[in-house]
Symmetry: C2
């Protein structure tokens, strides 16, 4: 937790209040904050501030804002990823948020087990976003969309997201073209499931405007390929 993310309602009065059990416990137990300490605080979907602690109790920590701080910029990228195994979902979402992805789309695919869409973890996406923002020092939650049907998304939604200024790259081991690097334009990245997209899916993606690009001969797990690709794309 590199900033404490607060709901705007917690910052209405002169003194702001941290009341979430998770945050109060982390600050009092792990960080061992004291009255007078400064604390970095973000207002969810708002600004970020350096604050000072004015009071500490077991239930709440009260703060006063000292000065505004800058919120890190996001990468102009939409990450479209095949719905991962539940145990991978949390980390994948946290990492994508921490790394500053603007929009995240979870998509069904032939090799995605239908049971993945039943996981209770899907009810906790907002919590994963909060953890990712608090890790990064960011305050702005990315947009998140779920599409449980592959074909309608690729044929009806995806084309509206693609233009010559805003290409979509699908990672595909057999592609000749390499994944671009050091780009300075918006784009979408499409990452398949374990085992990859099936040929029908790759063909449909290409037919609807995506460019198939290779990441080289190493086969990288979904949760690892996302930071790897983001580091490569936005290396300028």
């Amino acid at each position: 937790m590199n900033i404490v993310l607060l709901d705007p309602r917690q910052t209405q009065s002169e003194f702001w209040t941290i009341s979430a059990k998770r945050q109060v416990e982390h600050l009092t137990t792990h960080v061992d904050v004291q009255v007078g300490d400064t604390l970095k605080v973000g207002i969810r979907d708002g600004k970020r501030y350096l604050t000072q602690i004015v009071s500490i109790s077991d239930e709440r920590i009260q703060l006063k804002a000292l000065q505004e701080e800058s919120v890190p910029a996001k990468h102009p990228v939409t990450l479209i990823v095949a719905m991962p195994r539940p145990k991978v979902l949390r980390r994948l979402m946290m990492d994508a948020v921490t790394l500053g992805v603007e929009k995240i789309i979870l998509l069904h695919s032939y090799r995605v087990d239908k049971s993945y869409w039943q996981t209770p973890f899907l009810q906790q996406l907002d919590q994963y976003v909060t953890l990712g923002l608090e890790q990064a020092g960011d305050t702005i939650a990315p947009k998140i969309e779920l599409y449980k049907r592959f074909k309608p998304f690729v044929e009806d939604v995806l084309p509206t997201m693609i233009s010559t200024e805003r290409p979509a790259y699908v990672a595909h081991p057999y592609a000749v073209q390499r994944m671009p690097a050091g780009i300075d334009h918006d784009c979408s990245i499409i990452i398949g499931p374990e085992g990859g997209f099936i040929p029908y899916e790759i063909d449909l993606l290409i037919k609807n405007g995506c460019q198939a690009v290779s990441l080289g001969s190493r086969i990288i797990r979904t949760e690892t390929v996302i930071p790897y690709v983001l580091g490569r794309l936005f290396s300028h």
Copy 2:
């Protein structure tokens, strides 16, 4: 498992033998291989082959080599990372191996809990390497070294690894210089612990030839920053 990694001793006779319980179970249960199927096999620290299955039992699978395949190239990088929490160690090692790091050094640091060096996971490093190689389709294990004392490593070992052709970059949030991108030379990357290196450690690293470089204003977890940095460095 994108290739099956075998010990050279398992490939001496005409027919090669997969006998490790983990591998046999994975192939018979998850992949449901059949006699006559082809299978990608790597010989640990040796070559990689396309093979064909000639017999399957509960205890072993026998193969014959069909043709040699190319082993993916490694990145000419030494990853020097502060010893992570035990629960992070497995993933960090697997990812570094999967992404083709040539050499991995686990280093002590002021903010590394001494208990981390007692974890039984350290006895399983070789197993993590195997899993990382099987994921990547690689056969060559990276060199791994452990240094439980920071100062002697930085003053006596690190300088021998650094030259004008082979710089060392330490990720440091307050550095002015950005982490380079798209490099085509060897280098070392140094990643600190949770909470970062202390100023004394950063100063000692710089005094001994390291360049402090920034990854921008987002604070990224150790296990996430490694693929992010590798994607950035080797994007040419």
